[in-house]
């Protein structure tokens, strides 16, 4: 049995829960795995801490909550400060470079993306979470690119599919350009050297 635990966090209004939903949907519906998502949110609708967790497994998920996640996706400094120590020592950190200034640890694969800026360049800051999702998908390869794109298409409001897929592709492309096989070699090594 292999189980991957993921935490996504940010502030309310950033689309944290939708990101978690799309990852879960891609895993459970499009890739035939088991995926359980749990969301938690503050009493306010926007601006408060917001977090979603996912347990993805080849077998039925019995325990719904996560322990120490394998992957931590973070889109706010408050979320980072709350959950930074929870991430497994060798777990993967995925963060928004303009909003989070992580204290990168040695041996911890860490990947940053300016997803808000990229979304602004696309003309719609609201798709920041989908840029992050595309980047996450490229980092984690938890499902194939096609499966995750399919889940994006099925999950966003009708009429916004093209915009959201563009955002997804921009996030994926940022990974390829910055950390991909042909480009950087900046991944974990870069994280180590700046620690």
């Amino acid at each position: 049995m292999s189980r991957t635990e993921i935490r996504i966090t940010g502030y309310g209004g950033q689309g944290v829960v939708l990101s978690g939903y799309i990852i879960g949907r891609a895993c459970a519906i499009d890739a035939g795995k088991h995926a359980t998502m749990i969301q938690s949110f503050g009493p306010e609708a926007r601006g408060s801490a917001c977090s979603a967790t996912l347990s993805v497994s080849d077998t039925e998920v019995l325990y719904p909550y996560i322990g120490r996640p394998d992957i931590f996706v973070v889109m706010s400094s408050e979320g980072y400060n709350t959950f930074r120590d929870e991430l497994k020592d060798k777990g993967t950190l995925v963060y928004e470079t303009d909003l989070v200034k992580p204290n990168l640890k040695k041996g911890q694969p860490s990947f940053g993306v300016p997803s808000t800026r990229i979304a602004e360049e696309l003309g719609r800051p609201i798709v920041q979470n989908i840029v992050m999702l595309g980047f996450f998908a490229a980092v984690s390869k938890i499902v194939s690119q096609d499966e995750m794109r399919e889940a994006v298409k099925e999950s966003v409001p009708p009429g916004t599919e093209d915009l959201n897929l563009k955002a997804f592709d921009a996030g994926w492309a940022h990974y390829e350009e910055t950390y991909g096989d042909n480009k950087g070699k900046k991944a974990a090594v870069a994280a180590d050297s700046s620690a």
């Binding site: 978690g20 939903y21 879960g24 949907r25 459970a28 519906i29 088991h34 995926a35 359980t36 998502m37 749990i38 969301q39 938690s40 949110f41 998920v61 019995l62 325990y63 719904p64 909550y65």
Partner: protein, 385 residues
């Protein structure tokens, strides 16, 4: 009969338990819902209120939970399948009219997405502490049906059974979810409408003037007349005769209330439902329900690795309780272990049915999260000694 395709969202979805519960209600043919929003149940009515216009359903946001429950009792008298949705504090307010629905024999389904209590407790966090309230919360002697799903898929599937049982026995069915299942998102497969079996209450064939609303003709469930179909009759929360008129006598009370109780107890074998695994030759049997049933399976696996012979009974229908089965099983095992997210509720029923033949070990949890599987394992290992 088969489900109305208008209410069935056939396909594979990624839904939380609340949404799945709402979809189950609509697939079951529910077309009237009244409710007052309360965390963690609000998503059920959010889903329903968004989708109802597409199938001719009506949702009313009421002023409070007393009114919500009253509205579905009235709605059901029109022949409509009716639902209300709440959590602990609202469930308390619904108790009086749940009793009215029992007494009037009005089919309806009440969802309680349980959170931590007492009082307003833990609004956004899980609990299973309303299980005895479901059984005894309204005053007087009565029987009803309560169910507990362990996943969003089961929230959908059991919701259809909840409506079917409610229609068949003309009794409120209490749908005892927990916040964890309600706010958990998983794959939910909704079958085609022609694969969903639907039960509708038995409407009278007697003409107006001949119809008696509480005549049972040797059965337990009277035929139903819809308000608006030209039948003039009386119905009340007071003890009543077969015409529905109040009769204040011990003799009438005996006939009226005994039938309400026996309607369920004499049909209990048909209503009771549970999953059973590995109880043959077991020393310990875990009795569990809802989200705790999933977590318990991890504790059970851990205990098996330590060599304990342990089986499991997962309650699907919680009330009526599988009394006979627990009674028989108690004679063959050392102990029952009952993990639940409360300080010991269903364990009391297990203990009662064990009648001293097997120990009943409570594994309590105060709420706000689920058990650590290790605690369940430790209880099993301890009980096996």
């Amino acid at each position: 009969m088969k489900a109305d395709p208008a209410g069935v969202l056939t396909g594979a979805h990624y839904l939380d338990g609340d949404f799945a519960c709402g979809e189950g209600a609509m697939a079951a043919g529910c077309r009237f819902t009244a409710g007052y929003p309360i965390t963690p149940s609000t998503e059920v009515v959010e889903r329903i209120s968004r989708r109802f216009p597409m199938m001719g359903g009506t949702f009313i946001q009421m002023e409070d939970e007393l009114a919500s429950m009253a509205a579905i009792v009235g709605g059901s008298w029109t022949g409509s399948k009716c639902l209300t949705v709440t959590s602990g504090p609202g469930f308390s307010l619904m108790m009086e009219n749940i009793g009215l629905a029992v007494m009037m024999e009005v089919p309806c389904v009440v969802v309680n997405v349980q959170r931590g209590g007492p009082s307003t407790g833990l609004p956004t966090m899980t609990g299973q502490a309303d299980m005895m309230q479901a059984r005894w919360g309204s005053h007087g002697d009565y029987e009803l049906i309560a169910m507990s799903p362990q996943s969003p898929q089961e929230a959908f599937d059991l919701m259809i059974d909840a409506f079917n049982l409610s229609e068949q026995y003309r009794v409120p069915v209490l749908f005892m979810m927990d916040e964890c299942v309600g706010h958990m998102t998983e794959k939910v497969v909704i079958p085609p409408a022609d694969e969903i079996e639907i039960v509708v209450r038995k409407f009278t064939k007697d003409p107006p003037g001949k119809f008696l609303p509480y005549r049972v003709n040797g059965t337990y469930v009277p035929d139903f007349a819809r308000a608006g179909d030209g039948y003039r009759f009386h119905t009340t929360g007071l003890t009543h005769d077969e015409r529905g008129y109040p009769e204040m006598s011990a003799a009438c009370q005996e006939v009226c209330v005994r039938r309400l109780i026996e309607k369920i107890t004499k049909n209990a074998d048909k209503i009771v439902r549970f999953d059973e695994e590995n109880t043959d030759g077991a020393d310990v049997v875990v009795v569990c329900y809802g989200i705790t049933a999933r977590v318990a399976r991890m504790g059970i696996d851990m205990a098996r690795k330590k060599g304990v012979k342990v089986g499991v009974i997962r309650l699907i229908v919680v009330w009526p309780f599988p009394e006979k089965h627990i009674r028989e099983l108690a004679k063959k095992i050392k102990a029952f272990v009952v993990p639940e997210i409360n300080y010991g509720q269903m364990v009391l029923e297990v203990e009662r049915c064990s009648a001293g033949n097997a120990a009943a070990v409570c594994v309590p949890h105060g709420g706000g999260s689920v058990h650590d599987p290790k605690d369940i394992c430790d209880a099993i290992v301890g009980a096996a000694k």
